[in-house]
């Protein structure tokens, strides 16, 4: 069960793709849903939104950045090795319909999550403008796939090594100015989603964001993933992971994501010491 059937290194080895055998999950998964993975019996449960599914082959694809002990362990696994546990599909699927003109904004590994949603929006007949951002051109992922799923593609890099020199929000403002956009989907780092939502709120353009807070079970049982949305507490695992970007309390989310910062460092230090 949960065998890795293919593996790819992206963005100079900092971002890894795993295609994993999980026939039951592949049969059911829809764009926007996530899985929880555990590398071994002692491992932490890590939620990751699926980047792709192949129901015929019975596989799901995840793309993650190596940021801590768990993702480092994920990244070390070779083709043929198995995850200890993969659970899903979890969370609500993205509501896909023809809205006319839409904009998809992606940053970092959020682009991996955005890809199946973008494809589905395009397949549903939307005119899709995509804006992708990364620190530099080498860290940008899935450019070709996103180009195929979009009518227009804009690239932004912080250092100007490719496309627009600056942030996705610069280009987004431009697009919103020129076109009549009915929906924006923004998936990426919390500050990116926060700033995108601030701009679209001002323009009154509906915006969906996908959140990835700290979770344990992913089924609504623990409440660790609670987020404030429009002043109400929601569980990202069952009420989300997608929410109305204009209503999310991003500062609270950022704080909560830092809850275990010291422990995470300790975990990395400990495992490096042992290695």
């Amino acid at each position: 069960m949960f065998k890795i059937v293919s593996r790819e290194e992206m963005a100079q080895g900092t971002i890894i793709l795993n295609e994993i055998e999980a026939p039951r999950i592949a049969r059911k998964a829809k764009p926007g849903q996530f899985v929880i993975l555990q590398v071994n019996e002692k491992g932490e449960r890590i939620p990751l939104t699926m980047a792709d599914v192949d129901p015929d082959k019975g596989t799901i694809t995840i793309i993650y950045m190596v940021v801590g002990k768990s993702t480092a362990l994920f990244g070390k696994m070779a083709v043929g090795e198995e995850y200890f546990a993969v659970i899903g599909p979890l969370g609500k699927a993205t509501h896909i319909e023809n809205r006319g003109k839409v904009v998809c904004v992606g940053g970092g590994t959020g682009i991996a999550v955005l890809h199946p949603i973008t494809r589905a929006l395009k397949d549903a007949g939307n005119h899709v403008t995509t804006i992708l951002g990364s620190r530099n051109k080498d860290l940008l992922i899935l450019e070709d796939k996103m180009a195929n799923a979009s009518d227009t593609l804009h690239i932004c890099t912080d250092d100007g090594s490719k496309g627009h020199h600056g942030f996705v929000t610069d280009v987004l403002k431009d697009v919103l100015e020129k076109e009549d956009i009915s929906l924006v989907v923004a998936i990426g780092p919390v500050p990116m989603m926060k700033f995108v939502s601030a701009i679209t709120k001002e323009k009154g353009v509906e915006t969906l964001v996908s959140l990835n807070p700290i979770m344990v079970d992913g089924t609504g049982m623990c409440g660790g993933c609670r987020v404030s949305v429009g002043g109400e507490t929601k569980f990202a695992c069952v009420d989300g992971p997608e929410f109305d970007g204009h209503k999310v309390d991003y500062d609270e989310l950022s704080n909560r994501l830092r809850a275990y910062l010291n422990d995470e460092q300790k975990s990395v230090d400990e495992s490096e010491k042992n290695a």
């Binding site: 069960m1 039951r24 999950i25 059911k28 555990q38 019996e41 002692k42 491992g43 932490e44 449960r45 002990k69 768990s70 200890f84 546990a85 993969v86 659970i87 899903g88 599909p89 979890l90 344990v216 079970d217 089924t219 609504g220 049982m221 623990c222 409440g223 660790g224 609670r226 987020v227 404030s228 507490t233 069952v238 500062d251 609270e252 704080n255 909560r256 830092r258 809850a259 275990y260 422990d263 995470e264 300790k266 975990s267 400990e270 495992s271």
Partner: protein, 469 residues
């Protein structure tokens, strides 16, 4: 009965325990178990009543005088076989049942002195069998060719699985987590119920032929209707009460405020108390407050103490008398230095600039007229607000029904709280060939009541598979 008076005079066995000042900082089991001599002496106290009231108090009708007589005779294998006849989880029940309101509460000896220590003896027989590998498993009936899906591997699911496999049915358990046991592994801490004991009880079921599919969230990975399409003839839903209740107070989303479910799941299922050997971290509070006074609240408080807290307070809005935890849990918690702050209600939580909890505001209460539950209603004392400094709060005020499964099965009727409506006598739901029991049907209750519901449902499922709906 000639020996009765004599038996009343023999003192009840005292369970050897780890000393409070030692155990409050370790996760090893608190009670150490009876020795053979202690168990035989205790078993000999049983009057062997012709109409045993203790059995009437047992939700799964264990032959209590029967297994106790075997212990008194020194026939420990015989004792476990008597237990297994009616109870697939004796090592668990011996540890977590509220015996004082069930079997032991009905014991005739208890009327004049102390009841027989039935829980200790059940635990003794189960531990002895595990230690020696003794006892013959119940005989499995001829295969019926009928397939049953048991959803959830908590106490009620395990009971259904054990009962039906013995009757010859082909049973598969679907468990959402990566480990079997449900609340027995994610909720009840190691120091109260060692996890290798749960694993061993599950292994017994596997030896009987029960199959287990882990990592299967029924409702999303697969639905009940899909299980029927796959060839299952009946389904039992025992998924527990998997949705934590919060209090909706200002500051509840500060870092440092946890549901009991999260705090205990991290500690127990994910073994965060062994971090960084295990990868899942857990917040280690210096000054901890647990809101609520049930068994789960005691488990959270005692866990916090073991993780190194300087102070641990139980904050509860009613008085000592109304605390719903088992007497033994309250006693153990107090022995370990947990402070009970009674007639006190939280109002809000305070945090620093980084969103980390650093205190809470409480209001003192007094008892007024009885409410609909028959308990005296706590009434706030005006102007009594005060601050408690704390860096960790565990909200332990109960759990609601998790809608993940029921949302995917709209033809199962729910009550106004989202619990599945199940016939109390049989566990039958509004959907054909689907039964439910345990917390998802009754709301939060005990391990043994869930097992009792499982027993009734198993009988009803067997009737359905052999006779009809």
């Amino acid at each position: 009965m000639a020996g009765k008076d004599k038996k009343v005079k023999v003192p009840r066995a005292t369970m050897p325990e780890q000393a409070p000042e030692v155990r409050r900082r370790n996760f090893m089991e608190v009670p150490l178990g009876l020795t053979d001599e202690m168990a035989i002496t205790e078993a000999a106290r049983c009057l062997q009543c012709k109409k045993p009231a203790c059995v009437e108090g047992c939700p799964v009708s264990v032959d209590i005088p029967g297994f106790i007589q075997k212990i008194a005779d020194g026939d420990f294998s015989g004792a476990i076989e008597r237990l297994w006849d009616k109870n697939a989880l004796p090592a668990v029940c011996g540890r977590v049942c509220p015996q004082e309101i069930q079997c032991e509460g009905n014991c005739i000896l208890g009327k004049k002195g102390s009841s027989v220590a039935i829980g200790y003896l059940e635990r003794f027989a189960a531990d002895k069998a595990r230690e020696l590998g003794s006892g013959t498993l119940p005989k499995v009936a001829d295969k019926t060719g009928k397939k049953v899906a048991v959803i959830g591997s908590g106490p009620s699911g395990l009971t259904v699985a054990g009962d039906l496999v013995v009757k010859g049915h082909d049973v598969t358990i679907f468990e959402a987590f990566h480990q079997t046991g449900g609340v027995l592994v994610y909720g009840i801490p190691e120091f109260r119920l060692p996890k290798d004991i749960v694993a061993s009880e599950v292994a017994t079921l596997e030896k009987l032929g029960v199959k287990i599919e882990l990592n299967s969230v029924v409702g999303t990975t697969v639905t009940i209707d899909e299980l029927f399409e796959e060839g299952f003839d009946a389904a039992y839903v025992g998924v527990g009460a998997g949705l934590p209740r919060f209090m909706n107070l200002p500051g509840e989303n500060l870092i440092g405020v946890f549901s009991a479910n999260e705090y205990l799941t991290r500690a127990n299922l994910m073994k965060a108390y062994l971090f960084p050997e295990y990868d899942t971290p857990i917040a280690k509070g210096k000054n901890v407050v647990v809101l609520g006074a049930g068994n789960v609240a005691m488990d959270a408080a005692r866990t916090a103490m073991r993780l190194g807290a300087d102070t641990v307070k139980i904050v509860y809005r009613r008085s000592r008398e109304e605390m719903p935890a088992r007497a033994e849990e309250l006693h153990h918690a107090e022995q370990e230095g947990i402070e009970f702050v009674l007639l006190t209600n939280p109002i809000q939580f305070f945090g620093d600039d980084d969103g980390r909890l650093n205190g809470m505001e409480c209001l003192k209460m007094e008892l007024g007229e009885p409410d609909e539950s028959g308990r005296r209603r706590p009434v706030p004392i005006e102007g009594s607000e005060y601050r408690i400094d704390c860096d960790l709060v565990v909200v332990s005020v109960g759990a609601k029904a998790n809608p993940l499964l029921t949302n995917s099965t709209p033809d199962i009727d729910l009550n106004q709280w989202g619990n599945i409506v199940a016939d109390p006598a049989t566990g039958k739901t509004s959907k054909k060939a689907v039964w439910a029991g345990g917390d998802i049907a009754t709301g939060m209750a005990t391990v043994i009541l869930a097992m009792g519901a499982g027993r009734d449902a198993a009988n009803s499922i067997h009737d359905y598979l052999t006779i009809g709906w």
